[in-house]
Symmetry: C2
Subunit: 254 residues, 2 copies
């Protein structure tokens, strides 16, 4: 099956090399509008979007996310924020008990909302000839992000999105075979992994070896194993920071 939307979705690649061209206010508004049209859990619209245009703040975010610098040349930078604070204000105005907003369930709903809206924003940008990279690496120092963006209680920074017009367009990264990721009526990986993982590892080895930039010897299994060896202190404060922001996720015994 083919149509222009499937084409767009199926040709996605993350863009990390941008033309030096800032997005216009109208372009930013179009992207934010698209994000806001996404489904939202219990229609609670429990996330916010922060545009970061201040160069000093962008440099701080670049430090937090690994000093890669490419994000500084993007055309616009968004941060998606889990947000139960707005609903807390609504509760306060109505004199209602806000307890539910602090639960793990509502935090998760905020993460769903933000993730779903993020993809709308990315696809909207791609439909306008731009590209984007979603950056979970802002969580390398969530506490600093909270300070940098003046985030109140019951909010939490989740994802950065660097958007802009691409200078170069990389190859599409092959995803794993469907048989390893899509099951029917129950989880059935164990029957599949022995046969299919080696096939995918070969495919990824060819991709990594032949790609035009940053080519290297690697396959999917190696990639996952190297991710496992990262510094355990990185993001070890994540739950502590979530709790500091007022969410009750610090103990199941409560």
């Amino acid at each position: 099956m083919e149509n222009s939307i499937l084409d767009l979705i199926n040709n996605h690649r993350s863009i990390r090399n941008f033309k030096h061209q800032s997005l216009s206010d109208e372009e930013v508004k179009t992207l934010v509008t698209a994000a806001k049209k996404a489904s939202t859990s219990t229609f609670s619209q429990q996330y916010s979007i922060i545009s970061v245009t201040d160069q000093e703040k962008l440099k701080e975010i670049d430090k937090i996310t690994g000093n890669t610098h490419w994000m500084l040349s993007s055309g616009h930078y968004f941060v998606m924020v889990a947000d139960q604070y707005r609903n807390l204000k609504i509760a306060e105005r109505a004199g209602a008990d806000p307890y539910i907003l602090k639960t793990a369930d509502k935090l998760l709903a905020s993460v769903f909302d933000a993730g779903i809206a993020t993809e709308n924003l990315v696809l909207a940008a791609e439909s306008m000839g731009m590209g984007a990279t979603i950056m979970g690496s802002i969580l390398n120092d969530s506490n600093k992000m909270i300070g940098l963006l003046d985030l109140p209680k019951l909010t939490f920074p989740l994802l950065g999105i660097a958007v802009g017009y691409p200078e170069t367009i990389p190859e599409i990264k092959p995803r794993m075979p469907e048989t390893l990721q899509h099951f029917t009526n129950g989880y059935q990986l164990d029957d599949q992994i022995g046969n299919w993982l080696p096939i995918y590892d070969d495919q990824m080895a060819k991709y990594y070896a032949s790609r035009s930039t940053n080519s290297r010897q690697e396959n999917f299994s190696n990639h996952i194993v190297s991710e496992l060896s990262r510094n355990r202190k990185l993001r070890a404060d994540l739950l502590e920071n979530i709790v500091s922001q007022g969410f009750d996720v610090d103990g199941i015994s409560k």
Copy 2:
């Protein structure tokens, strides 16, 4: 700005009334492929998709999600699953320490992955003339969902997606004004809410009163307040069930 993708995104509504028409295998494959093309955190592809076609299991999910029955007439039902189990198997095959996979950070990465892929799947369906509703209500009994889908450790059910050809198409639900949800360089709700929330409440009151089905007296503030009064026991086992699945999110003091 206009293009066919922005049109699609901006005309989204959740569909809860489906024609009795099952999706073909090719349609399902097209949707799964679109989901898999989405960005994935650290390229770890840490989610899985389970198609539920067994009528008995669908009836169980209908019970869990509130006995609304409309999901039973959808053309296909997907469940998005946070999945670090596959990467655990890769770690085991390589003799690597899987500790990192159990962290809150990796659980969150799984939720990002699943949320982003969910929106690709929904938009792909809409581009093919179908509609969908994303159902967080599967978390009403996450433990039962785990049993029903044979989910192994380091996996967790997140969202159901009912997809099908729409029998009727509801009105678009107005989202809150941008000024309440999009900020620049820092969080700035407090200056905006007093002026803009009443305007949005009026807009939503008109929407709820005039919509073609399920019209009622309600505005956005009322809606949030009624959400706050729900039974506290509902989903109170969420964190406990996440921990039972092997994720280390049961205490910040560890």
